[in-house]
Amino acid sequence: MTDDASLDLFAEHDEPHGAEAPAPEVIGPEPKVWSVSQVNRAVRGLLEDSVEPLWVGGEVGSWTRSRAGHCYFTLKDDKAQLRAVMFGRDAQLLPTDPDEGMKVRAFGDLTLYEARGEYQMVVRRLEAEGAEGLWRLAFEKLRVQLEAEGLLAPERKQPLPQYPACVGVVTSPTGAALEDITAVLGRRAPWVRIVLAGTRVQGEGAAVEIASAIDRLAASGLPDVIIVGRGGGSVEDLWAFNEEPVARAIARCQIPVVSAVGHEIDVTIADLVADVRAPTPSAAAETVVPDGAALLHQLRRTPERLGRSLRNVSTRRRTRVEERLNRLVRAVDRKLAPVRQALDRGEGRLERRVGALAELRRAQLSGLAGRLEALSPLATLGRGYSVARTQDGRVLRTVGDFDVGLRFLLRVNDGTVAAESLGAEESPTAGTK
């Protein structure tokens, strides 16, 4: 706006309101009297029509937000202040309320609130000084809160599965992110199943939609890991991923979540709460699956590795048995050594003993032979005795055995004599048995 223009405002714009040139002095006819409403309406028109939308820089003072979501505040510098209002439609796009005294710049229109006759600025956009100031502020507020609740703690991070069978994706069904993710998964791990929970990722209500998509996927029980994200964009485009509903949905998700929002430089609240942060959707896809080709290669070498191990086990076992056997033999040897020595020593004694025994036996035997000799009847016959026997060899011992006329044989020392009994008489004292 130009300062000069404001001086001419009335001059230029009085006609449409049907106003005559005001007379400095009222003389003569009745002066034209304006109603308050008319004046305010006229001034409002002048302001609105003549001042282009503009940026105003200053500090925020007395910020209040009504129940309807309208925000009332002042913009001020050290000398002056300007009333400002931000209606709900615009205010809800604010990442957060600015702090009092915060240096901001506001974009909007000058107007006049007719009911009060106060002029004010209707702010359509409000930015904290410095790029992304207000976003940064909102981010920090939520980050501090989540941190205080422990939701950003490293120990809350869930490990990703190494070989997921099903990958859940929360993103726009028509966005580049989904294409990037499916391209990478198709190349690296074509065996996986992708389940998409489609959602808007920007604009009013996007955060709530994203959160409910995460919840739905978690409730389905299908995915082993979930990628939540979108392609790159401006801070406002990515904002939903900095909002509390998304943060909380990620935090309560029992399935590990990988965040993938925008390009590398944008760190979002979602990134901080997620179990793993990937800089882009493509990177997220790389993170959640192994490289199929490498895995397959490794897998094909596994039977050989198993076989080698098995051979090792069997040779190790054989060696072990041999070793044990050797140890056993050595142990037996050690135990036998004294016995052997004793045997060696004992051998001579034994021989001598056996010899002595044999001698003894021999002596005993010859003694016996003598005694046997003495018992032999032949020796008795040698001394003149004889034995009478019948033809069939029966020994005749008593008088009664010798019937008269009985033929018998007499065995004498050197032969046999045939004889016949002529009669027999018992000797008076003979005791026969």
Binding site: S220, L222, G292, L306
Partner: protein
């Protein structure tokens, strides 16, 4: 309802089990009988995992409101 076919161990299960088997078999105190058993089990997992990995077509599905899924064309909008 068609997803109850998977009483088979998952790929993750098989591959983690394979790791276990390998490290067990490469340990010092494994008995021959056990090693034999592990070898057979391991080869089985390798075969099954290989079969899974050799799939070529990515399945892309959309989660429906009821919790079911419906295939979507990965190239289509």
């Amino acid at each position: 309802m068609s997803k109850h076919e998977e009483s088979e161990p998952t790929l993750e299960r098989r591959l983690t089990r394979l790791e276990e088997i390998l490290s067990r078999m490469e340990s010092d105190d494994v008995a021959l009988e056990e090693a034999l058993r592990l070898f057979e089990e391991g080869v089985g997992h390798v075969r099954a995992a290989e079969q899974v990995l050799s799939a070529t077509e990515l399945r892309v599905e959309e989660l429906l409101a009821g919790g079911g899924t419906r295939p979507i064309d990965p190239d289509g909008a």
